[in-house]
């Protein structure tokens, strides 16, 4: 692992380079809890290049999931700039942001969040309903996504008929089916047993290395963090550290 560049002054963490896919400048986020204002992120600056595999780590309440939500466009910052593939998503209205998410972001959740009344196939097909693809084209895409994630043989199973690992594979297929610009994963192995977790991490690794997908992951799991090329450490809403897992890569 490389040495973190500046532990003393986290705000001075430098952006990777001009080829950055995601550029975050001075990002702030706070929530209201009753009458109290709780600051979650303070002046975060970072950039992520295309085809990068990034992990955010840190203790609970450090702001990593909030940062992930902001990058994915499911939450809005109080202030700061968040540019993804040349678009400042903080300036998009709700409707445009929804369309942007549908087109550019694939989501993987800790608890899979599959729709229980839909089969694996239908769950993966769901994001494609927002595209102009025909039924036949949708079928082709869904089959390909299920094949990549190794769950095609369970295509017509309902989530309740699948194990946790299999459900997460379906969720990953749903995340990649639209060929998004970035894939965000919030504790993707958090609800899985050791073997399943390894398989899911291998799958994400494969998506990044073989298919060039940009993956941004939040995790508590050191094994998961070790799979990422670059790791950002957050603490109390501040980006404290960053390092690269050079040994693996």
């Amino acid at each position: 692992m490389s040495e973190p560049p500046s532990k003393e002054n986290p705000k001075e963490l430098k952006n990777d380079d001009d080829r950055a896919l995601i550029i975050i400048n001075d990002l702030h986020k706070s929530y209201r809890k009753g009458t109290q204002k709780v600051t979650v992120l303070t002046g975060v600056n970072l950039s992520i290049t295309r085809a990068q595999y990034v992990a955010f780590i840190g203790p609970s309440g450090s702001g990593k999931t909030t940062l992930l939500n902001l990058i994915a466009g499911i939450d809005r910052p109080d202030r700061g700039k968040l540019v993804v593939d040349g678009i400042d998503i903080t300036r998009l209205d709700d409707s445009k942001l929804s369309r942007w998410r549908a087109r550019h972001v694939g989501f993987i959740f800790q608890f899979y969040n599959l729709i229980p009344v839909l089969t694996a196939f239908e769950n993966v097909e769901l994001p494609l309903l927002l595209t102009p693809l025909s039924r036949k084209q949708r079928k082709k895409h869904v089959t390909a996504a299920l094949k990549v994630t190794g769950i095609l043989d369970r295509a017509f199973y309902y989530p309740s008929q699948l194990s946790g690992g299999q459900q997460q594979r379906v969720a990953i297929a749903r995340a990649i089916v639209t060929d998004p610009t970035i894939i965000v994963a919030d504790e993707p192995t958090g609800d899985l047993d050791k073997d399943s977790a390894v398989q899911i991490l291998d799958l994400l690794h494969h998506l990044n290395r073989e298919l060039g997908k940009t993956i941004i992951m939040v995790t508590h799991d050191p094994r998961a963090a070790r799979k990422a090329r670059k790791v950002y450490v957050l603490d109390k809403g501040i980006l404290r550290d960053q390092y690269e897992n050079d040994i693996i890569w």
Binding site: N69, F107, N113, L130, R174
Partner: protein
Amino acid sequence: MNLLKYVARNAFRHKLRTSLTVIGMAIVVLAYCLLRTVVAAWYAGVEASSPNRLITRNAVSLIFPLPISYLNRIKEVPGVVAVTYGRWFGGIYINEKNFFPQFAIDAEHYLSLYPEFLIPEKQLEAFKKDRRGCIAGRLIVKKYGWKIGDVITLRGTIFPGTWDFVLEGIYRGRDRGTDESQFFFHWDYLNESLKKTMPIRADHVGWFVVQIADPARAGEISRKIDAIFQNSLAETLTETEKAFQMGFVSMTEAIVVAIKAISYIVIGIIFVVLSNTMAMTARERTREYGVLKTLGFEGPFLLKLIIGESVFIAATGGILGIILSFPAARIFAKSLETFFPIFNLSVKTLASGLVSALIVGVLSGLLPGIKASKTPIVESLTHVG
């Protein structure tokens, strides 16, 4: 996959809850249709009335008769085409439970003023020739198992004694709105008996039926008829047949209003039930809605999804209720045919039942739908249900 398939699967995610709600909706629509049919049955006489017919009765009350001598004077009023008359008999057939309306009528002309009563020509002629003859509607003929030539005995209440009639004809209604439970016999037969037994009550009728050529002149003709008998011992009140029938309905208006109110209340109750079901459903699926929004589905999609499910449940229950209305109405009509000889489920009633169910469906899904579509994604995803 499409939205409808998703909605249908969602609807039966909680089979017991959905089934109970569907059954509840079915019962409500069934009750609504029956209650509205009762109201319609109440107004059947009003609906069946002809704009070409006026009724002239005693101005004090219908229970006071009018002299038969008024007949020719009414005929002379300009605009009057024909006049006939009738009198309420009020007899009992075997026992009091067997109620059906009985009228002593002007055998020669009365039925010609009521083209909605269809009777074979031969039977009508036989009736006219037989002073003890009678004509009955096919509903009561079927109910009591009568056939042509049977002697039907009524025990008089207003006109004491035992009265025997020979069934000479059976009429049927021209349409479903025609009362087929009436019983007609010769006024002359009644009058002759009265002349012998109670002369003071003879030569009187209960009312005159006045046929006019132009319904637009009903008011004017009514005033002219009543003017003739002004300051006489039996002043008259002439009104359209519709107004005359409405007079009967208005006597029991409170009941009709109560039935109408109940029909709306049951709809209100199911609205509360379905709203609760949809609120519970939407609350349980808050996280799921968050996932859908995360994937790019917007608020209006969630609104459609939730309202669609609500409408699906309501429509399923509504259709079931309408299907059940047919056998229920038949049972209802059979057991209450004495009170409601015309008890027909109308298309309008069924349609209003279904539309009510659909409106309840839309409204019940509206609030949870709006709430789900407005809830921020992060809040939805972290919802603990």
